[in-house]
């Protein structure tokens, strides 16, 4: 398909061509679309008269469109002119003078190119008189299998065709099923049946029209409908019996029910011959068919360090999709980017055709890189049974000296190649001395592993217990104070001992008295500071402390207060005795269980 466009301010012409590559005797359809804004087309476009292509007008139509843009209305008209182009002679034809006359003058469409190859034997349309296959029943639906050739060369294109042939009584059912895209036939393809071929199936279930045919020995009218084509390219020589397909028709026997009706066509016998060795060129890489090659470079005039794009276009019939790349000349005077590839390939019921365009971006090293030698391509033509080498014309470039001083460094940056492996990827041994260390994988069998991993769990349990205790005591301050009472009392006793060591008797008695009163306050939640002896006695009795201890407490507190307030100096022995008595008293009090 080709899209050519010419645009002016008020008129646009677009050309679409279905196939650009034809054989002699084939035809293609061209649609010329002209869009105008207000102007009218006076007459049909003029078509070129080329010796080799014949343009036949098919039909034309006109449509209009009303647009309202930025508050202004605009009416556009689209004229479409359809032509069939018939290939009469082989060759390359540039169609460049299709012009359209409008009110303001004429406009030319962009040129396009059509390549016509020599004609080959057409794919046989079925014989006008068919014989019903053996064993078919009265339903009168047959599957006709055929091949475009019975004997082909390795790599040569071959088309297997599978057509349905049905009695006229099924015509309306078939046509309605096709129109409504209903699955009137299910293809059962056998896996591996075409393993020695590259295959491209072309499904024609809903696309081709039925043709009337006659059956031998039957006066009724029959119709033939193409179902599927297999475009095949044999990979290896040999004799093959191909039966890749069976079809299950779903015919409507009565108003309600469709009945599956499976048809297995006879196998098709194909002989694949090897390609001849005689005359095989060195550059031949397996292309079979008919090809042309064209190369062009742009720009042809450039400076050192600038790029030139070399476009190589390979057109042809046959296995274009897998065609080998054309052989490039020596381009060592150029740096190259990785080439890109653009395919335009059509696979239809007549086979495969199309073009591949390879784009190479080249940077000439210097002024000596002023020529691109011919690009070659070799293929085997099965029609003439000969190898053919085609080549492009040499391309001359004009290279001007560069004004830039960094051409060389620029060239280095562009000089990149894809690194490819040329041998097996098998790695060398490990030479590390650690290879003799014994590694134990199953460390979970050791006790140390479990101890190490259980330790944090135990720590967590401990932390949780501690946290719970902290929260519990924070909610119950009396219990917390009660639990802390012995510790505080011991701390005060320690302070008293320090004062004793410093011979500070006053401080000793302060600490001893405070140790007793603080212990009582904390242990039994009793604010005993400021109480007289009788009050303290009553309070302690209420807390369930026995009288001997209460007497000792009151006596000692009175005695200590007396010493403190009298200011009399006490001898060391007396202080030591008092300290011991206080310590003894507190240890006895600590043993009393707190019942509150």
């Amino acid at each position: 398909m080709l899209c050519a466009l010419h645009a002016s301010a008020e008129i646009k012409a677009t050309i679409k061509v279905e196939k650009k590559i034809l054989r002699v005797g084939e035809q293609t359809r061209m649609a010329l679309s002209v869009v105008t804004y207000g102007e009218r087309i006076q007459q049909e476009p003029s078509t070129p008269s080329l010796d080799g292509l014949n343009f036949v007008f098919v039909n034309s139509n006109r449509g209009s469109r009303f647009e309202f843009i930025n508050g202004r209305s605009k009416t556009s008209y689209e004229y479409t002119f359809v032509y069939d182009i018939f290939a009469i002679k082989e060759g390359k034809f540039t169609v460049n003078n299709i012009s359209v006359a409008s009110d303001s003058g004429s406009i030319k469409a962009e040129p396009f190119e059509i390549t016509v190859f020599p004609g080959s034997k057409p794919i046989p349309t079925r014989a006008p008189s068919l014989t019903a296959p053996k064993g078919t029943d009265s339903i009168n639906i047959y599957l006709l299998a055929d091949s475009s050739k019975k004997e082909v060369f390795q790599g040569e294109e071959l088309v297997l065709s599978y057509d349905a042939v049905y009695h006229q009584k099924w015509r309306s059912w078939f046509e309605s099923a096709i129109q409504r895209n209903r699955d009137y036939a299910i293809f059962h393809e056998e896996r591996g049946a075409l393993k020695n071929f590259l295959s491209e199936p072309v499904n024609l279930k809903y696309s081709s029209r039925p043709k009337p045919v006659r059956m031998a020995g039957n006066r009724d009218l029959f119709f033939q409908k193409s179902l599927i084509r297999y475009v095949l390219f044999p990979l290896t020589p040999g004799e093959y019996s191909l039966s890749p397909l069976s079809v299950e028709f779903r015919v409507l026997l009565n108003r309600m029910n469709t009945t599956p009706f499976k048809v297995q066509p006879d196998p098709i016998n194909i002989k694949v011959k090897p390609l001849p060795d005689e005359g095989k060129p060195d550059i031949f890489k397996g292309a079979v068919g008919a090809f042309t090659i064209k190369a062009q470079a742009e720009p042809l005039e450039l400076s050192e360090g600038e790029t030139v794009t070399l476009k190589i276009s390979l057109n042809g019939f046959g296995n274009v999709k897998n065609a080998p790349k054309p052989i490039l000349p020596d381009l060592s005077n150029f740096d190259q980017f990785d080439p890109t590839q653009n395919e335009s390939i059509v696979v239809d019921e007549s086979g495969m055709r199309g073009s591949i365009e390879y784009s190479h971006v080249l940077i000439p090293h210097d002024q000596n890189a002023n020529q691109i030698d011919p690009i070659k391509f070799a293929y085997f033509d099965p029609n003439t049974k000969k190898y053919i080498v085609i080549q492009t014309k040499p391309i001359t470039l004009t290279i001007h000296p560069s004004s830039s001083k960094d051409v060389a460094s620029g060239r280095m940056a562009f000089n990149r190649r894809l690194i490819t492996r040329v041998g097996d990827d098998f790695r060398f041994i490990a030479t590390t001395p650690a290879a003799t260390a014994n590694i134990v994988l199953s460390i979970h069998n050791s006790l140390r592993f479990w101890l190490i991993n259980l330790l944090p769990v135990l720590l967590l349990a401990l932390a949780m217990a501690l946290k719970w205790q902290r929260n519990y005591l924070a909610a119950r301050p009396n219990i917390a104070k009660s639990l802390k009472a012995p510790k505080l009392a011991r701390k005060l006793l320690t302070d008293a001992r320090k004062s004793l060591d410093k011979n500070d008797s006053q401080a000793v008695y302060v600490y001893l008295g405070k140790a007793i009163t603080d212990f009582i306050s904390n242990r039994w939640s009793l604010a005993c500071v400021g109480m007289i002896s009788l009050e303290l006695k009553d309070a302690l009795l209420k807390k369930g402390i026995d009288e001997n201890h209460i007497t000792s407490i009151t006596q000692m507190l009175d005695e200590f207060d007396g010493i403190r307030f009298s200011g009399a100096l006490q001898d060391q022995q007396r202080i030591n005795d008092d300290y011991a008595k206080t310590e003894e008293l507190l240890s006895q009090l600590m043993k009393i269980k707190n019942t509150n």
Partner: protein
């Protein structure tokens, strides 16, 4: 009298048992080095010498050195890899695959090992069934599982356990609400990592302890429908193919092809070697 008999039988059983242990201790399979190795070489010396033989293309001597080291009880992925390479270059595909598989248990991320293992697998006679491919969370877990060996998995699990519980304990006792909330994300991340590695470790321990795999060492083996030559052949497999061992019975072992549960049968024990 009866008690005397009982005591004497216990003593006799003890003597027989201890004699057996003593005999087995006296006859260990002493590894022997091929001529060309100096007898004074220590382990590292033997390894260096074997590597040198490999470098010079003297594969039988290199193999002897590596085998000597493995016979000493050294279990090391690099040593197994070298042994696999030596077997492969000598053309013993079954043994090469076996030692590569053993090395993979220790060094699952060792790139050279994976390259050579894949290369060796490409020339196996049997195309092994493809293991199902998983994506999403399960695929990620399997990826993690395959990238670490059992030891690494267990150690990483332990480290994450310590980290997770430490952060948890610190967070528990932090009074400052801001600091506590800052520790939440690390706590979740480490906890998630711990769960992943813990589940991976559990699976690896299960694989290590419960799943027995082996490599076919014979050039071609017919897998029978029962434990005996009289049974019909179910399918045949070739050297280097990995099988899962299911059940032992006499000289026969029941195997299953990994990746396809329908291919199971019995083959002689002598034709496979456990990984």
């Amino acid at each position: 009298m009866k008690s005397l008999l009982k005591i004497s039988s216990i003593i006799a059983a003890f003597l027989i048992f201890s004699t057996g242990i003593a005999l087995s201790a006296e006859n260990p399979t002493t590894p022997v080095l091929a001529p060309g190795y100096s007898p004074e070489l220590d382990r590292n010396g033997v390894l260096e010498q074997a590597n040198e033989f490999y470098r010079n293309g003297d594969l039988p001597k290199a193999l002897s050195g590596y085998q000597y080291l493995t016979a000493l009880g050294i279990k090391n992925g690099y040593l197994f890899y070298n042994l696999g390479n030596a077997y492969f270059r000598e053309g013993n595909l079954g043994s090469a695959i076996l030692w590569y598989e053993r090395a993979l248990l220790y060094l699952p991320r060792f790139h050279d090992l994976n390259i050579n293992y894949q290369y060796a697998r490409t020339i196996l006679a049997d195309e092994e069934f493809k293991a199902p491919e998983y994506s999403g969370t399960l695929g990620f877990l399997i990826h993690i599982n395959q990238k670490f060996n059992l030891r690494e998995c267990l150690i990483i699990t332990g480290v994450f356990l310590w980290l997770f519980l430490t952060i948890l304990i610190i967070r528990m006792f932090l009074e400052n609400q801001s600091f506590r909330s800052r520790l939440s994300i690390p706590c979740w991340v480490v906890g998630f990592a711990f769960i992943i590695f813990f589940s991976s470790s559990v699976f690896k321990v299960y694989q290590h302890e419960s799943i027995r795999q082996a490599i076919v060492m014979a050039p071609a083996v017919e897998v029978k429908t029962g434990p005996g030559n009289d049974f019909s052949t179910s399918f045949s497999i070739h050297e280097g193919t990995k099988v899962k061992l299911l059940q032992d019975q006499g000289d026969w072992v029941r195997v299953l092809l990994p990746g396809n549960t329908t291919f199971t049968g019995w083959m002689l024990k002598s034709t496979v070697e456990a990984i």
